[in-house]
Structures are given as structure tokens and as C-alpha cells.
Symmetry: C2
Subunit: 416 residues, 2 copies
Amino acid sequence: MLIKDLSIMEDGRLLRDVNIAIDGSRIAGIGPGVADESGDGEVIDGSGKLAIPGLVNAHTHLAMTLFRGYADDMELLPWLSEKIWPLEAKLTAEDVRWGTKLGCLEMIRGGITCYNDMYYFMDETARATKEMGLRAFLSEVVFDMRPDQIERAEPFVKRWKGDDLIVPALGPHAVYTCSEETLLKSKEIAEKHDVMLHIHLSETRSEVESFEKNCGKSPVEYLDSIGFLSDRVVAAHCVWLSERDISIIAERGVTVAHCSISNHKLASGIAPLDRLARTGANICLGTDGASSNNSLNLFHEMKTTAIAQKCAHSRPDLFSAGEVWKMATENAYAAFGLDLGIRAGALADLALIDLQKPWFFPLTDGNILSHLVYSAQGGVDTTIVDGNVLMKGGVIPGEEAILERAQEQFLDLLAR
Amino acid sequence: MLIKDLSIMEDGRLLRDVNIAIDGSRIAGIGPGVADESGDGEVIDGSGKLAIPGLVNAHTHLAMTLFRGYADDMELLPWLSEKIWPLEAKLTAEDVRWGTKLGCLEMIRGGITCYNDMYYFMDETARATKEMGLRAFLSEVVFDMRPDQIERAEPFVKRWKGDDLIVPALGPHAVYTCSEETLLKSKEIAEKHDVMLHIHLSETRSEVESFEKNCGKSPVEYLDSIGFLSDRVVAAHCVWLSERDISIIAERGVTVAHCSISNHKLASGIAPLDRLARTGANICLGTDGASSNNSLNLFHEMKTTAIAQKCAHSRPDLFSAGEVWKMATENAYAAFGLDLGIRAGALADLALIDLQKPWFFPLTDGNILSHLVYSAQGGVDTTIVDGNVLMKGGVIPGEEAILERAQEQFLDLLAR
């Protein structure tokens, strides 16, 4: 496949009129005169477009896209106990299938090529994600209230290990929902199969305070004391951290999956990203589920992260566009071990963005990252994952049928 | 003109399969079987689309769209003194013309049909806005440092009074840039011609503190003491307000134009919208200029306003989707005296939104406002102002030429 006459970014500056050749799942070459040697004959006109490497959604619950807009503007506990948990009690694999596909459509439209998820019925999510063509790190959520879940975790890992798009992981839900035994068992399975660990950590103030009261340690100190923390851990949220927690996270090489919009919408608080960054922690961005966001858009997430952090610290110079862009790309590639980027040899996970939109004007040599982070409003034209074209010219084959089917499935769940 | 088979909202619920007939500048009829009696023969297929009444951008500086992405991530004073003011010193009417047109394109794509602006070379903004077909409330910015500006204010009002799309107003910049004489002169002209007053008010903490130190009163108390405040005043920002300030604003019927994204990006602070709302103040939403936002999108502004206020007050139940939607619509219609809405007799200022997008699914009877505020990502398909179709099927005639011309104009300004 050859993408012709497009622009790419180099050190935050535009490089125009280059070609990208894709052979199989990888970028074979990039440059002004590069030709296609794959022999498949596919040509995409890239003129007026910018290639960006795929964005990574580092924390979500994709099947919950089915619950989008079902309950908003509520306190956290009644939201969970009156709305979300009763729906989840009735949840079937078929619900998960169509919630996942709906979420995939939205992420493809937003230039997201890989996501990190924990939820129920993960085989269904894995199959649906493969059908949609996205890359994903998936974990069966592990929860003591649902003791069958830990039994599902290792078989799930074994079934999917070695797949080209699906990377299995372990997903112990949180310190307040998993016993020490469960946490250590999850860690043991993760180490045995050399896969990642995905956990919620210190999301709300009350959760952290009640844990400290019972345990005498913060959630981070506790996880460190049992040897849970390492660079295979992706910790979602990390809003309520002490100085000591921050040092531990940085020292252990834990990746923070920051979810700015969800934390704001649920009024959980504003994460101390400046101190995490200064201490050397790796920070990525996640949308969380569409039940609390309510979208799955990393462009929104980047802008909200930058401006919320600036405001929280009364420092407009903190969290530049370039820094936040890295959180959605390079920091995530490092965390998940993804060989991604707009360069020869990298996996062909990328999106083409239509630059002929008012929000990208004026376009000078030095402001493309500012436009991507602060101004972009849609305009993802083409999304490619593993060398496969998932969307081209804004069209995703079969989208309408999936939208209708997801709608039916949600009405069926409500009526159940 | 007849828009056929579309959906509208009634009390936050979807009403499907209705027609909207437009005759001249007004909606002639709405209903399932409504026919076109205008005789112009124009038919728009509304199937799969939702009609919303036009959104109102209650505070911006549209010509500054030309400065988008020119300088970001800087402290306020160096940003102004090293970047913005030097550009403005070289500003010409031609710059204003193309900055305005670029801004209009973006607002048309975002379903904004009316905006409230203060800046230089307002005749040029007025002409460019009329050419683009939008409705606007425009003021020559009044500034003591530029004493010629107050001389321009009344002639501008006289020239444009009675226009079908352009409503002139008075724009004294702020209490720290205008003397008492200038403020009172502005008020006098506004009363004489029965037009509105547009002012920046209590945007940053340092501005308010230094004013109080010099004057012994808060900016709001001061403006009230000289009789400036009334329901013809639209006050942008209002971030740093005392309890007494809030009471005064509510009592005098002043409209607050809240600019959540700009306030966050410049790290100005978070406005006390909850207390303003509880005290009965009228709150609208503005994007501010694209030099500090950096977009002109009220969907982003609605979501940011809701989630930032929820988080600032640790109350996820505050600022519901419906409340924030009103700020961008009904509250603004009341403030500016606009006869708008999706109803027979109202001005035909409206947008059609494509509902066949993943972010609008699942779509049930009760969640359309949630989707519009929390989930919508573009998808404005058609924008109509004063009965004229400015965009149809995502196409704005002449857009590409305007983008190129704005680009040239900015490069010319930089090189000047």
C-alpha cells in the first residue's frame, strides 16, 4: 500500500509531500520519492492530510459504551448502585459484543488504534475488537465479589497469548475490591505469562481515606509493600496521591493512565500530574468508559488534561501541547511496548487527518502540535491498524448496521 | 424551504419525523405533515438528523482567529506583551476581514449562528460576517490607550443600527483599561441608541486585587457605583467575584458570558457559576478568541463548563446537561433579545446534526441532551441563519478559498 503526497511531523514541524509505503503490518518506507513494493497496488491519496501515529487509549471499559448517556449528573454511589450495577447484573456476552463494536467505531473515528481495557466477557471483547481490526490490551476484570472472575483470568491469557492484535493482561480491579491473595495471584499469573497488570488506583478521596483508615497505609504504599508494583503495572486515575505515593510510582516504573474528563465529570478531583511528571513517572491518557466520560476521544482528553492542569496550578506555561501529545503517543508506546511511530519499520498503526479544516488554520511550520491538541475538532479521515485500512475518507464499512444493532441490544438490555 | 422528516427536541425528548417549513427569515411551521408555502421549492432531506436552534457564542474576538496557535503555553503577561500586542500593533482591516471569515467558517461548522464580539476594525468584521451570513452583536473595542476608538464607537452604531444581521453595541474593554469618563460615555451612547454594552469583568485574580487596592472597591462594586450595570450589560469572564459582587450582578440583570476553556488555558481560574446561578444571574457561554482557546466550539465549551464546575464543587450532580444546554441557547436568546427556537414564528437560525454517528448511540428518548453536551464530536451537517443555508451536507461554498486567503494574510502579517 502507498499513501501519497501527505504531510508528517518531525520534531513538531510539518514535513510536506512525502509518501508512506506499507508492506504487511509494517511501514516499509517514508520519504518524498518512496515507492510501493508490497505489490498489493493499493494507493491512498494523502494530499492535504497529515499522518499521525495511532493514539493509545490507556484506560477504558469499551463494552460500557452501550451505557452512554444512560445516567449522568449523579453522585458516584447512587450512579453505581441504582444505575450501573443493576444493568451489569443483567449483562450478557452479546451486550459486551455490541458495546465493544460501538466503542471501536468511535475510536476509529478518533484516530485511536490501540486501547487498554478491563471488563467482563473479555473473549467477546477480544473477538469483536479483532473483527473491527483494532489493537487492544485486554483483561478479565478480577473482583472478589465475583470469585469466578479470577478463575477466568489465566485461561483468557492462555487463549489469546500470541495473537497479532489482542494482547491479554491481568486486571485486578482495585485494592478495595480485591483481597491481598487475589492481588498476589493476579501478579503471579501476570509474571508467569509475562503480561501486563491493569488496576484502578486512588481514584476518589473517600476510597483512599477509608483504605488508609483500615489498613494504615495508602493504596500505593500497600501495593508496594506486597511487591505488586513494577513496570508491568498500568494504574488508572491516580488522583489522590501523597508525595511518598508519587515517589513509589516513579521508582517502580508504574505507568499512570490519567483520565481527566472522567475524573472531572464524576467530580473525583484533579490528579497531581505535575509532581508525577517531575518525579519521572510515565503518564498516558485514558478516556475511561463512555458511561462516565461520555465520549472516547483522546483529542478532547489531551486538551482537557492540558488546560485543567494549567488552571489547577495557576501556570499557563505548564503542560505544553507537545508534552500532552506525548502522553497519548510515545509515553503509551513505551508503557505497552508498542513499536509505533511514523518511521520505517514501525507497525503500520496510523491515522490521516484532514488539514483542510478551519481549525487547522493558519498553519505555520511550528504550530501543528498546538492545533492537534488545542483546536482539532474531528477530521480524522483514514485509520489504519496493522496495515489494514479500517476507515477511508471518513467511511467505515458496515458502520450503520453496527449502530442499529447496538441500539437494539441496549433496548433489549433495558427491557430484560 | 422545507426540511423533511427530521427530529426535534421537546422538553429534552426526541420527536421524530417532523417537517420544518421556512419562509423568508422565519420558521413558518413545524409538524408531521407541514408543507412548504414559501414557493421557493427548496427541499432539504432531514432524515437521520436533529434540528437544534442556533447556538450563541456570547464572547469572542473573531478576528483573532488569525492568531490561532501563534503563541501557547505562556504566562499571560509575556503572552500579551511579547506576542499578541506586537501583532495587533501591525493589524490592518484586511487582517480583520480574513480572521473574521476564518472564524465564521469554524462557527458555521459548529452550529453557532450568532456571536458577540469586541475588537478593532469592526466595520470590516461586520461586512465579512454579513458576507458569511451569520448574525452578530459587534462593538468597536473602547480602550483609553487608543483614544481614537471611543470616537469610532457611536458612528459605528449609527451605521449598522437596523441591519438585518448585524446588531451594533458598545464595547468598553474593562475597568482597568477605561477611565470612568470613558465607561460613562460608553453607557450614554448605548442608552441613547438602545444598544448593548459588552465588557470584560474580573477575569484574573491579579487584575481584581490591584483594582481593589487602588480603588477600594471591587470592579463590580465600582461599576455599580457609577450606574454602569443593567440588563443591557454582557460581562465576559466574571471569575473572581465576592458574594456581594454576585448579588449585584444578579440584581442588576447583568448577563455573564462564561468562558471556561479560555479561563482554564490561561490559568485565570474557575468562575463561581453555582453561586451565580443560585443567585439568579443569567449565564451564557463564550469561546473567547481562538488565540486563547484555541477553538470556537460551543459543544466543547458546554462539556468543559459542566465537568469543570462539577469537579470544582465536588458535586457530580451539579450543572446537568440540560442546564448547560440552556446557557448556549435560551439564556443567550434572553440576554440578546433573540426570537429563536425550533418553533413556528421564530427566526430560522438553526443547525441540523447528523445523528447517525457512534457518539449519539445508544439513543433513547431521554438522553439526547446528554449526548449533545457530553458526547457530540462534530457532525453538524447543515447550518441555516435568517433562513439562508450557510452549510449543507457539510459543505460551505467557497470555504477552501477562504482558508487559503486567511493563511496568506497571516503570513503577510508575520512578515510585515
